[in-house]
């Protein structure tokens, strides 16, 4: 594998040139959203300047161009994720909508009261709340595979829960909050052996690791364009064709019908059955060059690059005595490093890092149940991507050092032992937690 020419790649991302609070931007919030290369930004401009027209409607030239360009992305995406048919890829607003589509159009039709939906404790809220809504509405029973203290799933516990016969097993391929890489293929195999329908949340996988939906063998997979260099407003749901055919529509309206009378309607073919109304075709078009960009760099090289940077960052944190969440085993970790500074709230860490130009995400990362399980209200999280380099790790190290010095954090000392004597104004401070 050829190492990435990051210096050259960085030239393609205009935003990386900007300053934040007077410092060069070190963008380490890629698990939340990624920056866009010039080709993606330019394709939006070109589309609006030269081709804009509603899709699937007119017979005029612009409409035909716009339809073809939007559909070209679907074909490209099918190749990118190894889907055998482009029409099994549904474009939604975001991955949250993709999961809600499965809950509304599949689960509401095929699950009944008492049926089990099995998920895990490491899910994003978007893979918990839709099922809770369904449980309240339909009497579905929700169960969760517990997360081990090291942030992994115990396959024996997975098997035990699968033996209870869940109708759906829905899990994340890779934890957005703590960076655990789940054994996706094995989990799918176990779920299939238990006759469960499988949904995989691949939001943190698709941008970083190759996937081949044909060999995965899942039933539904969701992910999002904006986390893989693409524009916002484009989510993806891939579904096995027979399931998509058997499902009823999600939203009703234009584009998703075949024939409408005042009494009833029949549905359009896949994928349009699930794409009601004017779709977000301009962003769909701009997702195409993002996929081309990722393909030309290569996901294996991207994954190796960001993993190495993340592991360096983890080593820096551990050397300072900080608590890094997730597995100790490097092979089970991704480009996400989630950590806590003893005695300091993640928000204060995030603000101190921001003053150094370092963008990290702080808080519960939309994973409150996981945070509760790991007994922390939240964490600070650095997440890497192809355009990050050593200078970002160095900026991170500087920001960390400065934070520890400013807040007088002494991680190796007993809690509170190194707190300086209080000064005036505190109304008689006693114990310190800094």
């Amino acid at each position: 594998m050829i190492p990435l020419d990051v210096k050259k790649l960085r030239e393609d991302f205009p935003i990386l040139k900007r300053l934040v609070r007077g410092k060069p931007l070190a963008y380490l919030d890629n698990a939340a959203t990624t920056q866009k290369p010039r080709v993606v930004i330019q394709s939006l401009v070109d589309f609006y300047e030269k081709h804009n027209a509603n899709v699937h409607r007119g017979v005029h030239t612009l409409s035909e161009e716009s339809t073809n360009m939007a559909e070209a992305t679907r074909t490209k995406l099918a190749a990118f994720v190894g889907a055998s048919k482009p029409e099994t890829l549904i474009f939604t607003r975001n991955a949250t909508e993709s999961i809600n589509l499965v809950a509304h159009a599949w689960a509401r039709k095929f699950l009944k009261a008492g049926d089990i939906v099995l998920s895990t404790e490491m899910e994003h809220h978007s893979n918990i709340v839709p099922w809770q809504l369904l449980a309240a509405e339909r009497g579905i029973v929700l169960k969760f595979v517990p997360v081990e203290p090291d942030g992994t799933l115990d396959l024996e516990k997975v098997k035990r829960l699968l033996s209870e016969g869940p109708k759906l097993f829905t899990f994340t391929a890779l934890s957005n909050a703590i960076g655990t890489v789940n054994p996706v293929l094995e989990l799918i195999k176990l779920g299939k052996a238990a006759n469960a329908t499988i949904h995989v949340d691949a939001c943190q996988w698709a941008p970083h690791r190759p996937m081949d939906l044909k060999t995965w063998g899942a039933d539904f997979v969701s992910f999002s364009a904006h986390k893989m260099l693409g524009p916002t407003g484009i989510g993806v749901l891939w579904g096995r064709e027979e399931l998509l055919e058997a499902m009823d529509p999600f939203l009703g309206g234009g584009d998703m019908i075949s024939r409408v009378t005042l009494q009833k309607s029949t549905w359009n073919a896949l994928p349009y059955k699930f794409e009601a109304g004017t779709p977000n075709f301009a962003d769909q078009v701009a997702f195409g060059p993002a996929l081309d960009y990722l393909s030309s760099v290569g996901l294996d090289a991207i994954n190796a690059h960001e993993h190495a940077l993340a592991e360096k960052t983890r080593a820096i944190l551990e050397a300072e005595g900080m608590k890094v969440l997730g597995p100790a085993d490097s092979a089970k970790r991704s480009g996400v490093v989630s950590f806590n500074v003893p005695g300091l709230h993640p928000h204060d860490v995030g603000t101190a890092f921001d003053l150094e130009g370092v963008a990290v995400r702080v808080g519960h990362h939309c994973c409150q149940p996981l945070m509760n399980k790991l007994q922390c209200g939240g964490t600070a999280r650095a997440s890497f991507y192809l355009y990050n380099d050593e200078s970002d790790v160095e900026a991170f190290a500087r920001a960390l050092k400065r934070t520890l010095e400013f807040f007088k954090v002494k991680p190796t000392a007993p809690k509170g032992a190194e707190v300086p004597p209080p000064k005036s104004g505190g109304g008689g401070p006693k114990a310190g937690v800094l």
């Binding site: 993640p346 928000h347 204060d348 603000t351 401070p429």
Partner: protein, 148 residues
Amino acid sequence: MEGDAELQDLYREVLLDYFRSTTRKGKCDPADLRAHGINPVCGDELEITAELKDGKVSKLRYAGHGCVISQASAAMMAEALEGADIPKAKALVAAFKTLMLENGALSALPPELEQLASLEGVRKFPLRVKCATLGWNTVMQGFEAAKS
């Protein structure tokens, strides 16, 4: 160190002192006022309890985890509101919110809120303003509930 000026401007020494202070941390039990506040940005939770006697806030406590800004702000609020009659306490809450949300002048702060001027730097960080106002919004909910 270069750049520390910005950190010092935001996290002034007096804020850090209040953050470390445990003087008014905890709960009143029994309490005449009890309110629970959540900052949806971070999920931090704060519980405010108070004893109300003869139309006055005789004791006010805050409990829960939070960042330096939300905890220090709650500590200063507890100090400022204790001893005030309820209309005065509500007026102080309103005055603080004007400072934070409407960029009110420091000179317009009532003397009881003198220490709160230390949160001035937070106004440059719009996302953190919610941390500073969490306790204040929570106590207002408590006043409303206590009234009804």
